[in-house]
Symmetry: C2
Subunit: 227 residues, 2 copies
Amino acid sequence: MSIKVCVFDAYGTLFDVASAARELALQPGRERLKNCWVKLANDWRQKQLQYSWLRTIMNKHIDFWSITQDGLDWALEANNLSDDVDLRKELLKLYFNLTAYPEVSQMLSDLRSNHILTGILSNGSPDMLNGAVQSAGISDLLNEVISVEDVGVFKPDISIYELVEKRFGCEIREVLFVSSNCWDACAAASFGFQTGWVNRSNDPTDRLPSGNLVIMKDLSDIATLVV
Amino acid sequence: MSIKVCVFDAYGTLFDVASAARELALQPGRERLKNCWVKLANDWRQKQLQYSWLRTIMNKHIDFWSITQDGLDWALEANNLSDDVDLRKELLKLYFNLTAYPEVSQMLSDLRSNHILTGILSNGSPDMLNGAVQSAGISDLLNEVISVEDVGVFKPDISIYELVEKRFGCEIREVLFVSSNCWDACAAASFGFQTGWVNRSNDPTDRLPSGNLVIMKDLSDIATLVV
């Protein structure tokens, strides 16, 4: 590959969203959450994604922060936790206090040492992304943080992937795009990027149009892949 | 309401998809399916929906029969059942041998007795829908069976709901649209139809734009609602 730019999805790819909810479930006084946090986290994520896709098709965009709250409200109700106002507040706060996966800092440093430009391309609103990047301590390691809010639709609309060329002034074939969401990776590969799918939980490949996907277990091997 | 046309979603609304898979799991020799059929059916349905939405956004349409197979292949792999070729064949065959929910025939008869036109508006391909309508024995009770294949995108694209006006020659406000999928009902209500959401499993309402939804437990009260 002759890669000049390496762009990452944010939530689940660079930032560990699930671990934060897991830690909250371990806090004293969170007995109700302890019994259902896996289902709650899964319901939340599923509705968050569904609403982003459905609103894109319905042409009824709102930003990802609103969608994140809508998804959580559905999930809390489905798990009989709607009355726990404090829990809702704490779960939402997690999105602004995320940690990066352990391999992320070194991986980004290695890319930069090798003169590869780095960035994020995410559904997240600019505020959410800035919060997460600061909290994870990786702001100095990223050249660009690109939010879909620049165009007002969500992935996998093709106009989102076009933002990378515009912001980096590069060509499609010079980009390696990496996501832990298989559908996101498929769409990016279909668009023409070199693409890596980080399959942390050993899921089946989505049956969607795509080019070749490089499948990896985590982000450790990215630098050896592009240099 | 001054309703002249009553249009129903198909799978999950008129036709009981889950019961068929459940019965298959009870057959002798289906021990592996018995342990995981609930998760398999759920994975299958989720991927079927996801692929319909993602392909609509990606502008990469294939018909719902192909998507149904793609979703099943993902679900079989996720449940370690990819090697059971016979199971795949039997599960797919179910889509052509569905039964209607017990209240459907009487409900459609009552509508027709009251000079309300009836129809289906579904993601299903024409072949799938014809098979299901024949198998459920309700073809004489429907004026129109409308497939999204007439336009080549999936729900909730607005062009799908527009098909109802075209095929029935009616106005939007004269239509009652009924679906068991809350997102489908929200989109239809947002489009301008009078809308009923059949909430058979007591799910929370989706946090999506919509008009007023009439929520019902099953289809028994439709006729009293429109006459």
